[in-house]
Protein backbone atom coordinates (compact mmCIF):
# COMPACT_ATOMS: atom_id res chain seq x y z
CA UNK A 1 0.00 0.00 0.00
CA UNK A 2 2.82 2.34 0.92
CA UNK A 3 4.62 1.52 -2.29
CA UNK A 4 1.43 2.20 -4.25
CA UNK A 5 1.02 5.61 -2.63
CA UNK A 6 4.62 6.57 -3.27
CA UNK A 7 4.24 5.56 -6.91
CA UNK A 8 1.20 7.80 -7.22
CA UNK A 9 2.90 10.70 -5.51
CA UNK A 10 5.96 10.31 -7.74
CA UNK A 11 3.81 10.74 -10.84
CA UNK A 12 1.94 13.70 -9.37
CA UNK A 13 5.22 15.26 -8.29
CA UNK A 14 6.68 14.79 -11.78
CA UNK A 15 3.68 16.57 -13.34
CA UNK A 16 3.94 19.45 -10.89
CA UNK A 17 7.64 19.96 -11.47
CA UNK A 18 7.07 19.97 -15.22
CA UNK A 19 4.31 22.52 -14.84
CA UNK A 20 6.38 24.73 -12.53
CA UNK A 21 9.24 24.67 -15.01
CA UNK A 22 7.20 25.41 -18.13
CA UNK A 23 4.10 27.19 -16.76
CA UNK A 24 2.34 26.33 -20.01
CA UNK A 25 -0.78 24.52 -18.94
CA UNK A 26 -2.35 26.53 -16.14
CA UNK A 27 -2.06 29.88 -17.86
CA UNK A 28 -3.48 28.45 -21.09
CA UNK A 29 -6.39 26.83 -19.27
CA UNK A 30 -7.16 30.00 -17.35
CA UNK A 31 -7.11 32.28 -20.40
CA UNK A 32 -9.18 29.80 -22.39
CA UNK A 33 -11.83 29.57 -19.66
CA UNK A 34 -11.95 33.34 -19.48
CA UNK A 35 -12.43 33.56 -23.24
CA UNK A 36 -15.27 31.04 -23.15
CA UNK A 37 -17.04 33.06 -20.46
CA UNK A 38 -16.57 36.28 -22.44
CA UNK A 39 -17.88 34.74 -25.67
CA UNK A 40 -20.97 33.52 -23.83
CA UNK A 41 -21.53 36.93 -22.26
CA UNK A 42 -21.46 38.46 -25.73
CA UNK A 43 -23.80 35.87 -27.17
CA UNK A 44 -26.36 36.07 -24.36
CA UNK A 45 -28.13 39.33 -23.72
CA UNK A 46 -27.70 39.76 -19.99
CA UNK A 47 -30.25 42.56 -19.78
CA UNK A 48 -32.93 40.11 -20.90
CA UNK A 49 -32.00 36.87 -19.14
CA UNK A 50 -31.24 36.70 -15.48
CA UNK A 51 -27.57 36.15 -14.66
CA UNK A 52 -28.57 33.59 -12.06
CA UNK A 53 -30.19 31.42 -14.70
CA UNK A 54 -27.50 31.35 -17.38
CA UNK A 55 -24.52 31.82 -15.07
CA UNK A 56 -24.11 28.23 -13.83
CA UNK A 57 -24.30 26.84 -17.36
CA UNK A 58 -21.70 29.25 -18.69
CA UNK A 59 -19.41 28.61 -15.73
CA UNK A 60 -19.49 24.86 -16.29
CA UNK A 61 -19.04 25.09 -20.03
CA UNK A 62 -15.92 27.15 -19.36
CA UNK A 63 -14.66 24.58 -16.83
CA UNK A 64 -15.29 21.65 -19.14
CA UNK A 65 -13.75 23.22 -22.24
CA UNK A 66 -10.61 24.33 -20.50
CA UNK A 67 -10.49 21.05 -18.60
CA UNK A 68 -10.41 19.27 -21.94
CA UNK A 69 -7.25 21.20 -22.81
CA UNK A 70 -5.68 19.92 -19.62
CA UNK A 71 -6.75 16.36 -20.34
CA UNK A 72 -5.50 16.48 -23.90
CA UNK A 73 -2.16 17.56 -22.62
CA UNK A 74 -1.76 15.19 -19.72
CA UNK A 75 -1.09 12.07 -21.78
CA UNK A 76 0.05 13.81 -24.96
CA UNK A 77 3.06 15.21 -23.14
CA UNK A 78 4.05 11.69 -22.20
CA UNK A 79 3.36 10.41 -25.69
CA UNK A 80 5.44 13.01 -27.51
CA UNK A 81 8.71 12.19 -25.85
CA UNK A 82 8.10 8.50 -25.50
CA UNK A 83 7.71 8.94 -21.75
CA UNK A 84 4.52 6.90 -21.63
CA UNK A 85 6.49 3.86 -22.71
CA UNK A 86 8.89 4.59 -19.88
CA UNK A 87 6.02 4.90 -17.41
CA UNK A 88 4.56 1.60 -18.57
CA UNK A 89 7.93 -0.13 -18.39
CA UNK A 90 8.48 1.00 -14.81
CA UNK A 91 7.56 -1.89 -12.51
CA UNK A 92 4.65 0.12 -11.14
CA UNK A 93 1.01 -0.76 -10.98
CA UNK A 94 -0.91 0.61 -13.99
CA UNK A 95 -3.59 1.75 -11.57
CA UNK A 96 -0.97 3.95 -9.93
CA UNK A 97 -0.37 5.67 -13.27
CA UNK A 98 -4.10 6.28 -13.59
CA UNK A 99 -4.45 7.68 -10.07
CA UNK A 100 -1.34 9.82 -10.46
CA UNK A 101 -2.71 11.34 -13.64
CA UNK A 102 -6.20 11.67 -12.14
CA UNK A 103 -4.86 13.58 -9.15
CA UNK A 104 -2.69 15.91 -11.18
CA UNK A 105 -5.51 16.62 -13.64
CA UNK A 106 -7.88 17.21 -10.75
CA UNK A 107 -5.52 19.58 -8.95
CA UNK A 108 -4.71 21.59 -12.08
CA UNK A 109 -8.36 21.98 -12.95
CA UNK A 110 -9.26 22.91 -9.36
CA UNK A 111 -6.57 25.60 -9.22
CA UNK A 112 -7.85 27.04 -12.47
CA UNK A 113 -11.42 27.00 -11.13
CA UNK A 114 -10.36 28.85 -8.01
CA UNK A 115 -8.98 31.62 -10.22
CA UNK A 116 -12.08 31.74 -12.40
CA UNK A 117 -14.65 31.89 -9.57
CA UNK A 118 -13.88 35.46 -8.37
CA UNK A 119 -13.99 36.71 -11.95
CA UNK A 120 -17.31 34.93 -12.47
CA UNK A 121 -18.60 36.65 -9.33
CA UNK A 122 -17.62 40.06 -10.67
CA UNK A 123 -18.79 39.56 -14.26
CA UNK A 124 -22.20 38.19 -13.37
CA UNK A 125 -22.68 40.18 -10.21
CA UNK A 126 -23.56 37.05 -8.21
CA UNK A 127 -22.65 36.76 -4.57
CA UNK A 128 -20.85 33.44 -4.25
CA UNK A 129 -19.48 33.97 -0.77
CA UNK A 130 -22.86 33.48 0.86
CA UNK A 131 -23.08 29.89 -0.38
CA UNK A 132 -19.40 29.10 -0.65
CA UNK A 133 -19.31 25.74 1.12
CA UNK A 134 -22.12 23.98 -0.77
CA UNK A 135 -20.80 25.49 -3.99
CA UNK A 136 -17.34 24.05 -3.36
CA UNK A 137 -18.86 20.63 -2.69
CA UNK A 138 -20.74 20.77 -6.00
CA UNK A 139 -17.61 21.86 -7.85
CA UNK A 140 -15.63 19.09 -6.16
CA UNK A 141 -18.13 16.41 -7.25
CA UNK A 142 -18.32 17.71 -10.80
CA UNK A 143 -14.59 18.14 -11.27
CA UNK A 144 -13.86 14.71 -9.84
CA UNK A 145 -16.31 13.03 -12.20
CA UNK A 146 -14.99 14.96 -15.18
CA UNK A 147 -11.39 14.02 -14.34
CA UNK A 148 -12.21 10.37 -13.55
CA UNK A 149 -13.75 9.71 -16.94
CA UNK A 150 -11.54 12.22 -18.75
CA UNK A 151 -8.28 10.67 -17.54
CA UNK A 152 -9.40 7.23 -18.69
CA UNK A 153 -10.46 8.46 -22.12
CA UNK A 154 -7.43 10.68 -22.63
CA UNK A 155 -5.14 7.75 -21.91
CA UNK A 156 -7.09 5.94 -24.61
CA UNK A 157 -7.21 8.82 -27.09
CA UNK A 158 -3.51 9.61 -26.76
CA UNK A 159 -2.70 6.54 -28.88
CA UNK A 160 -4.99 7.54 -31.74
CA UNK A 161 -3.90 9.42 -34.82
CA UNK A 162 -6.49 12.16 -34.35
CA UNK A 163 -6.30 12.47 -30.59
CA UNK A 164 -7.26 16.14 -30.17
CA UNK A 165 -10.45 15.58 -32.16
CA UNK A 166 -11.41 12.24 -30.70
CA UNK A 167 -11.14 13.11 -27.01
CA UNK A 168 -14.05 15.60 -26.93
CA UNK A 169 -16.14 13.46 -29.27
CA UNK A 170 -15.74 10.46 -26.99
CA UNK A 171 -15.94 12.40 -23.75
CA UNK A 172 -18.79 14.89 -24.11
CA UNK A 173 -21.73 12.56 -24.74
CA UNK A 174 -20.68 10.46 -21.77
CA UNK A 175 -20.46 13.56 -19.59
CA UNK A 176 -24.08 14.56 -20.17
CA UNK A 177 -25.46 13.25 -16.85
CA UNK A 178 -22.85 14.94 -14.73
CA UNK A 179 -23.10 18.21 -16.66
CA UNK A 180 -26.86 18.33 -16.19
CA UNK A 181 -26.40 17.47 -12.52
CA UNK A 182 -23.76 20.05 -11.64
CA UNK A 183 -25.40 22.86 -13.62
CA UNK A 184 -28.72 22.21 -11.86
CA UNK A 185 -27.07 22.00 -8.47
CA UNK A 186 -25.01 25.15 -9.01
CA UNK A 187 -28.15 27.00 -10.00
CA UNK A 188 -30.00 25.78 -6.95
CA UNK A 189 -27.10 26.56 -4.62
CA UNK A 190 -26.82 30.09 -5.98
CA UNK A 191 -30.57 30.51 -5.48
CA UNK A 192 -29.97 29.78 -1.82
CA UNK A 193 -31.51 26.34 -1.59
CA UNK A 194 -30.00 24.00 1.02
CA UNK A 195 -28.12 20.89 -0.09
CA UNK A 196 -30.79 18.65 1.41
CA UNK A 197 -33.14 19.83 -1.35
CA UNK A 198 -31.01 18.24 -4.05
CA UNK A 199 -30.04 14.90 -2.60
CA UNK A 200 -31.05 13.14 -5.82
CA UNK A 201 -28.55 15.17 -7.86
CA UNK A 202 -25.82 14.67 -5.28
CA UNK A 203 -26.49 10.95 -5.39
CA UNK A 204 -26.37 10.95 -9.17
CA UNK A 205 -23.09 12.83 -9.46
CA UNK A 206 -21.50 10.88 -6.63
CA UNK A 207 -22.48 7.59 -8.25
CA UNK A 208 -21.10 8.87 -11.55
CA UNK A 209 -17.77 9.54 -9.81
CA UNK A 210 -17.71 6.16 -8.09
CA UNK A 211 -18.77 4.17 -11.16
CA UNK A 212 -16.18 5.73 -13.42
CA UNK A 213 -13.30 5.54 -10.95
CA UNK A 214 -14.21 1.86 -10.47
CA UNK A 215 -14.45 1.15 -14.20
CA UNK A 216 -11.14 2.92 -14.78
CA UNK A 217 -9.38 0.82 -12.16
CA UNK A 218 -10.71 -2.30 -13.84
CA UNK A 219 -9.97 -1.34 -17.44
CA UNK A 220 -6.82 0.81 -17.29
CA UNK A 221 -4.63 -2.31 -17.53
CA UNK A 222 -6.09 -3.02 -20.95
CA UNK A 223 -5.44 0.48 -22.23
CA UNK A 224 -1.90 0.98 -21.00
CA UNK A 225 -0.71 -2.23 -22.58
CA UNK A 226 1.80 -2.27 -25.37
CA UNK B 1 -57.67 12.96 -39.12
CA UNK B 2 -55.66 12.98 -42.29
CA UNK B 3 -52.16 12.17 -41.27
CA UNK B 4 -51.52 9.38 -43.72
CA UNK B 5 -48.52 11.28 -45.03
CA UNK B 6 -46.76 11.06 -41.69
CA UNK B 7 -47.44 7.36 -41.42
CA UNK B 8 -46.16 6.86 -44.93
CA UNK B 9 -43.01 8.90 -44.26
CA UNK B 10 -42.16 6.97 -41.09
CA UNK B 11 -42.77 3.68 -42.84
CA UNK B 12 -40.66 4.73 -45.81
CA UNK B 13 -37.79 5.82 -43.59
CA UNK B 14 -37.73 2.56 -41.68
CA UNK B 15 -37.78 0.44 -44.81
CA UNK B 16 -35.39 2.77 -46.59
CA UNK B 17 -32.96 2.54 -43.68
CA UNK B 18 -33.08 -1.24 -43.55
CA UNK B 19 -32.73 -1.59 -47.32
CA UNK B 20 -29.87 0.89 -47.38
CA UNK B 21 -28.02 -1.04 -44.69
CA UNK B 22 -28.55 -4.33 -46.52
CA UNK B 23 -27.29 -2.65 -49.68
CA UNK B 24 -24.07 -1.50 -47.98
CA UNK B 25 -23.62 -5.02 -46.62
CA UNK B 26 -23.97 -6.37 -50.14
CA UNK B 27 -21.42 -3.92 -51.47
CA UNK B 28 -18.95 -4.82 -48.77
CA UNK B 29 -19.49 -8.46 -49.62
CA UNK B 30 -18.78 -7.73 -53.26
CA UNK B 31 -15.56 -5.92 -52.39
CA UNK B 32 -14.46 -8.84 -50.25
CA UNK B 33 -15.22 -11.30 -53.02
CA UNK B 34 -13.19 -9.24 -55.47
CA UNK B 35 -10.33 -9.24 -53.01
CA UNK B 36 -10.59 -12.97 -52.65
CA UNK B 37 -10.57 -13.51 -56.42
CA UNK B 38 -7.48 -11.36 -56.76
CA UNK B 39 -5.78 -13.28 -54.02
CA UNK B 40 -6.66 -16.59 -55.62
CA UNK B 41 -5.34 -15.42 -58.99
CA UNK B 42 -2.00 -14.31 -57.64
CA UNK B 43 -1.67 -17.47 -55.62
CA UNK B 44 -2.42 -19.71 -58.61
CA UNK B 45 0.01 -17.75 -60.78
CA UNK B 46 2.77 -18.33 -58.29
CA UNK B 47 1.92 -21.95 -57.69
Amino acid sequence: MNLFLSQISAIVWKDFVTELKTRELLSAMFIFALLVILIFIFSVNLSVVKANEVGPGILWVAFLFSGTIGLNRSFMLEKENGCLMGLILVPADRTAIYFGKLISNFVFLSIMELFILPLFMIFFNIDLLAHLLPLLLVIFLGTLGFCALGTLLSSLASNLKTREIMLPILLYPLLVPIVIGVVRMTGQVLAGEPLSEMMNWIGLTASFDIIYIGVSIMTIDHILEE
Amino acid sequence: MDNLGFLFAANAFVWGGIIYYVYTLKQRNRALEKDLELLKETLSKEG
Binding site: N159, K161 | N3, F13, L39
Partner: protein, 237 residues
Protein backbone atom coordinates in the same frame (compact mmCIF):
# COMPACT_ATOMS: atom_id res chain seq x y z
CA UNK C 1 -13.88 -23.11 -42.06
CA UNK C 2 -14.48 -26.25 -44.07
CA UNK C 3 -16.87 -26.20 -47.01
CA UNK C 4 -19.31 -28.42 -45.11
CA UNK C 5 -19.56 -25.91 -42.34
CA UNK C 6 -20.13 -23.06 -44.77
CA UNK C 7 -22.93 -24.97 -46.43
CA UNK C 8 -24.52 -25.71 -43.11
CA UNK C 9 -24.25 -22.06 -42.12
CA UNK C 10 -25.82 -20.98 -45.35
CA UNK C 11 -28.70 -23.35 -44.89
CA UNK C 12 -29.33 -21.98 -41.42
CA UNK C 13 -29.04 -18.48 -42.85
CA UNK C 14 -31.62 -19.26 -45.48
CA UNK C 15 -34.10 -20.56 -42.93
CA UNK C 16 -33.60 -17.39 -40.91
CA UNK C 17 -34.13 -15.24 -44.01
CA UNK C 18 -37.42 -16.94 -44.81
CA UNK C 19 -38.58 -16.86 -41.21
CA UNK C 20 -37.77 -13.16 -40.87
CA UNK C 21 -39.53 -12.39 -44.14
CA UNK C 22 -42.61 -14.28 -43.07
CA UNK C 23 -42.85 -12.67 -39.66
CA UNK C 24 -42.33 -9.26 -41.26
CA UNK C 25 -45.14 -9.97 -43.68
CA UNK C 26 -47.39 -10.96 -40.79
CA UNK C 27 -46.35 -7.81 -38.92
CA UNK C 28 -47.16 -5.61 -41.94
CA UNK C 29 -50.59 -7.22 -42.30
CA UNK C 30 -51.22 -6.76 -38.60
CA UNK C 31 -50.07 -3.14 -38.60
CA UNK C 32 -51.94 -1.96 -41.67
CA UNK C 33 -55.00 -4.19 -41.84
CA UNK C 34 -55.66 -6.13 -38.66
CA UNK C 35 -55.17 -3.57 -35.90
CA UNK C 36 -57.98 -1.00 -35.46
CA UNK C 37 -57.15 2.69 -35.71
CA UNK C 38 -56.62 4.37 -32.38
CA UNK C 39 -59.31 6.91 -31.48
CA UNK C 40 -57.40 9.91 -30.12
CA UNK C 41 -54.31 9.86 -32.30
CA UNK C 42 -55.76 8.47 -35.47
CA UNK C 43 -53.85 6.67 -38.13
CA UNK C 44 -50.48 8.14 -37.09
CA UNK C 45 -50.47 5.97 -34.01
CA UNK C 46 -49.51 3.07 -36.26
CA UNK C 47 -45.98 4.54 -36.34
CA UNK C 48 -45.64 3.12 -32.85
CA UNK C 49 -45.39 -0.39 -34.30
CA UNK C 50 -42.16 0.64 -36.02
CA UNK C 51 -40.89 3.09 -33.46
CA UNK C 52 -40.90 0.90 -30.38
CA UNK C 53 -39.42 -2.21 -32.05
CA UNK C 54 -36.60 -0.08 -33.50
CA UNK C 55 -35.93 1.35 -30.03
CA UNK C 56 -36.00 -2.11 -28.51
CA UNK C 57 -33.66 -3.46 -31.18
CA UNK C 58 -31.10 -0.69 -30.76
CA UNK C 59 -31.16 -1.00 -27.00
CA UNK C 60 -30.76 -4.75 -27.24
CA UNK C 61 -27.87 -4.30 -29.69
CA UNK C 62 -26.09 -1.94 -27.29
CA UNK C 63 -26.57 -4.42 -24.48
CA UNK C 64 -24.94 -7.07 -26.65
CA UNK C 65 -22.03 -4.65 -27.24
CA UNK C 66 -21.65 -4.29 -23.47
CA UNK C 67 -21.66 -8.03 -22.80
CA UNK C 68 -19.31 -8.82 -25.70
CA UNK C 69 -16.94 -6.03 -24.61
CA UNK C 70 -16.67 -7.52 -21.13
CA UNK C 71 -16.15 -10.98 -22.61
CA UNK C 72 -13.49 -9.62 -24.93
CA UNK C 73 -11.48 -8.00 -22.16
CA UNK C 74 -11.78 -11.18 -20.17
CA UNK C 75 -11.01 -13.79 -22.85
CA UNK C 76 -9.12 -11.65 -25.38
CA UNK C 77 -10.76 -13.56 -28.20
CA UNK C 78 -11.24 -11.78 -31.56
CA UNK C 79 -14.64 -13.44 -31.85
CA UNK C 80 -16.14 -11.17 -29.19
CA UNK C 81 -14.65 -8.11 -30.81
CA UNK C 82 -16.37 -9.00 -34.08
CA UNK C 83 -19.68 -9.45 -32.28
CA UNK C 84 -19.50 -6.11 -30.51
CA UNK C 85 -18.52 -4.30 -33.70
CA UNK C 86 -21.38 -5.80 -35.70
CA UNK C 87 -23.86 -5.20 -32.92
CA UNK C 88 -22.84 -1.56 -32.45
CA UNK C 89 -23.24 -0.92 -36.15
CA UNK C 90 -26.73 -2.41 -36.28
CA UNK C 91 -27.64 -0.60 -33.05
CA UNK C 92 -26.64 2.77 -34.50
CA UNK C 93 -28.64 2.15 -37.68
CA UNK C 94 -31.81 1.39 -35.73
CA UNK C 95 -31.16 4.14 -33.21
CA UNK C 96 -31.10 6.55 -36.16
CA UNK C 97 -34.42 5.13 -37.31
CA UNK C 98 -35.86 5.76 -33.82
CA UNK C 99 -34.64 9.35 -34.01
CA UNK C 100 -36.24 9.78 -37.44
CA UNK C 101 -39.58 8.14 -36.71
CA UNK C 102 -39.84 9.89 -33.32
CA UNK C 103 -40.17 13.41 -34.75
CA UNK C 104 -42.45 12.17 -37.56
CA UNK C 105 -44.76 10.80 -34.89
CA UNK C 106 -44.36 13.87 -32.69
CA UNK C 107 -45.23 16.45 -35.33
CA UNK C 108 -48.92 15.63 -35.79
CA UNK C 109 -49.45 14.67 -32.13
CA UNK C 110 -47.47 17.27 -30.14
CA UNK C 111 -47.34 19.88 -32.89
CA UNK C 112 -43.55 20.11 -32.98
CA UNK C 113 -40.88 18.06 -34.67
CA UNK C 114 -38.69 17.88 -31.65
CA UNK C 115 -39.76 18.03 -28.03
CA UNK C 116 -37.11 17.67 -25.34
CA UNK C 117 -38.96 14.74 -23.91
CA UNK C 118 -36.87 12.58 -21.61
CA UNK C 119 -36.97 9.46 -23.75
CA UNK C 120 -36.17 11.16 -27.04
CA UNK C 121 -33.32 13.11 -25.44
CA UNK C 122 -31.78 9.99 -23.92
CA UNK C 123 -31.97 8.27 -27.30
CA UNK C 124 -30.16 11.16 -28.94
CA UNK C 125 -27.33 11.00 -26.39
CA UNK C 126 -27.17 7.23 -26.78
CA UNK C 127 -26.88 7.66 -30.51
CA UNK C 128 -23.98 10.09 -30.04
CA UNK C 129 -22.16 7.70 -27.72
CA UNK C 130 -22.32 4.79 -30.13
CA UNK C 131 -21.50 6.91 -33.16
CA UNK C 132 -18.36 7.97 -31.32
CA UNK C 133 -17.74 4.28 -30.61
CA UNK C 134 -17.87 3.52 -34.34
CA UNK C 135 -15.66 6.54 -35.05
CA UNK C 136 -13.10 5.23 -32.57
CA UNK C 137 -13.10 1.93 -34.41
CA UNK C 138 -12.72 3.65 -37.76
CA UNK C 139 -9.88 5.84 -36.47
CA UNK C 140 -7.60 3.10 -35.22
CA UNK C 141 -5.91 0.39 -37.23
CA UNK C 142 -7.12 -3.17 -36.97
CA UNK C 143 -5.47 -5.10 -34.22
CA UNK C 144 -5.54 -5.73 -30.53
CA UNK C 145 -5.33 -2.01 -29.68
CA UNK C 146 -8.52 -1.17 -31.53
CA UNK C 147 -10.32 -4.09 -29.99
CA UNK C 148 -9.25 -3.23 -26.44
CA UNK C 149 -10.10 0.46 -26.76
CA UNK C 150 -13.46 -0.24 -28.32
CA UNK C 151 -14.25 -2.73 -25.57
CA UNK C 152 -13.45 -0.17 -22.86
CA UNK C 153 -15.70 2.36 -24.58
CA UNK C 154 -18.43 -0.24 -24.99
CA UNK C 155 -18.43 -0.84 -21.24
CA UNK C 156 -18.16 2.82 -20.26
CA UNK C 157 -20.92 3.78 -22.69
CA UNK C 158 -23.43 1.23 -21.51
CA UNK C 159 -22.86 2.04 -17.83
CA UNK C 160 -23.71 5.63 -18.65
CA UNK C 161 -27.22 4.73 -19.81
CA UNK C 162 -28.94 4.59 -16.39
CA UNK C 163 -27.22 7.82 -15.34
CA UNK C 164 -28.33 9.54 -18.53
CA UNK C 165 -31.85 8.25 -18.06
CA UNK C 166 -32.25 9.65 -14.55
CA UNK C 167 -30.47 12.93 -15.22
CA UNK C 168 -32.59 13.66 -18.28
CA UNK C 169 -35.75 12.62 -16.45
CA UNK C 170 -35.06 14.98 -13.53
CA UNK C 171 -33.89 17.67 -15.89
CA UNK C 172 -37.26 17.60 -17.63
CA UNK C 173 -39.13 17.52 -14.35
CA UNK C 174 -38.45 21.24 -13.94
CA UNK C 175 -40.20 22.12 -17.17
CA UNK C 176 -43.85 21.79 -18.10
CA UNK C 177 -44.50 18.23 -19.09
CA UNK C 178 -45.69 17.93 -22.65
CA UNK C 179 -49.09 16.37 -22.97
CA UNK C 180 -47.93 13.15 -24.36
CA UNK C 181 -49.44 9.87 -25.17
CA UNK C 182 -46.19 7.97 -25.26
CA UNK C 183 -45.45 4.35 -24.75
CA UNK C 184 -46.14 4.88 -21.04
CA UNK C 185 -49.38 3.08 -21.54
CA UNK C 186 -47.93 -0.24 -22.62
CA UNK C 187 -50.03 -3.00 -21.17
CA UNK C 188 -52.50 -0.77 -19.38
CA UNK C 189 -55.15 0.84 -21.47
CA UNK C 190 -53.94 -0.92 -24.55
CA UNK C 191 -56.20 -3.03 -26.64
CA UNK C 192 -55.22 -6.73 -26.83
CA UNK C 193 -55.11 -6.49 -30.63
CA UNK C 194 -52.69 -3.59 -30.36
CA UNK C 195 -50.57 -5.54 -27.92
CA UNK C 196 -50.54 -8.52 -30.26
CA UNK C 197 -49.52 -6.38 -33.22
CA UNK C 198 -46.73 -4.81 -31.22
CA UNK C 199 -45.61 -8.28 -30.17
CA UNK C 200 -45.44 -9.53 -33.75
CA UNK C 201 -43.55 -6.44 -34.81
CA UNK C 202 -41.08 -6.87 -31.93
CA UNK C 203 -40.55 -10.48 -33.01
CA UNK C 204 -39.94 -9.44 -36.60
CA UNK C 205 -37.35 -6.82 -35.65
CA UNK C 206 -35.58 -9.16 -33.25
CA UNK C 207 -35.29 -11.78 -35.99
CA UNK C 208 -33.98 -9.10 -38.32
CA UNK C 209 -31.30 -8.28 -35.76
CA UNK C 210 -30.05 -11.85 -35.68
CA UNK C 211 -30.16 -12.06 -39.46
CA UNK C 212 -28.10 -8.90 -39.91
CA UNK C 213 -25.73 -9.97 -37.15
CA UNK C 214 -25.11 -13.27 -38.90
CA UNK C 215 -24.31 -11.59 -42.21
CA UNK C 216 -22.11 -8.95 -40.65
CA UNK C 217 -20.15 -11.41 -38.49
CA UNK C 218 -19.54 -13.75 -41.42
CA UNK C 219 -18.30 -10.81 -43.45
CA UNK C 220 -15.87 -9.71 -40.79
CA UNK C 221 -14.51 -13.24 -40.42
CA UNK C 222 -14.01 -13.50 -44.16
CA UNK C 223 -12.12 -10.22 -44.07
CA UNK C 224 -9.90 -11.55 -41.30
CA UNK C 225 -9.21 -14.64 -43.34
CA UNK C 226 -8.30 -12.64 -46.44
CA UNK C 227 -6.01 -10.40 -44.40
CA UNK C 228 -4.32 -13.42 -42.91
CA UNK C 229 -3.74 -14.99 -46.36
CA UNK C 230 -2.39 -11.72 -47.71
CA UNK C 231 0.04 -11.44 -44.85
CA UNK C 232 1.14 -15.02 -45.34
CA UNK C 233 1.70 -14.29 -48.99
CA UNK C 234 3.80 -11.22 -48.26
CA UNK C 235 6.00 -12.99 -45.75
CA UNK C 236 6.45 -16.12 -47.87
CA UNK C 237 7.63 -14.27 -50.98
Amino acid sequence: MSSDEIEENEEEGNILVWLTGLVFLAAMIAIFIYVPTEKTEGVVQRIMYFHIPCAWLSFFAFFVVFICSILFLWKKDREWDIYSHASAEIGVIFCSLVLITGPIWAKPIWGAWWVWDARLTSTLILWLIYVSYLMLRAQSDAGSMRARYAAVLGIVGFLDIPLIHFSVLWWRAFHPQPKVITSEGIGKGMDPTMLATLGISLCAFTLLYFLLMGVRVRQEKLKDEIDRLKREKIYSS
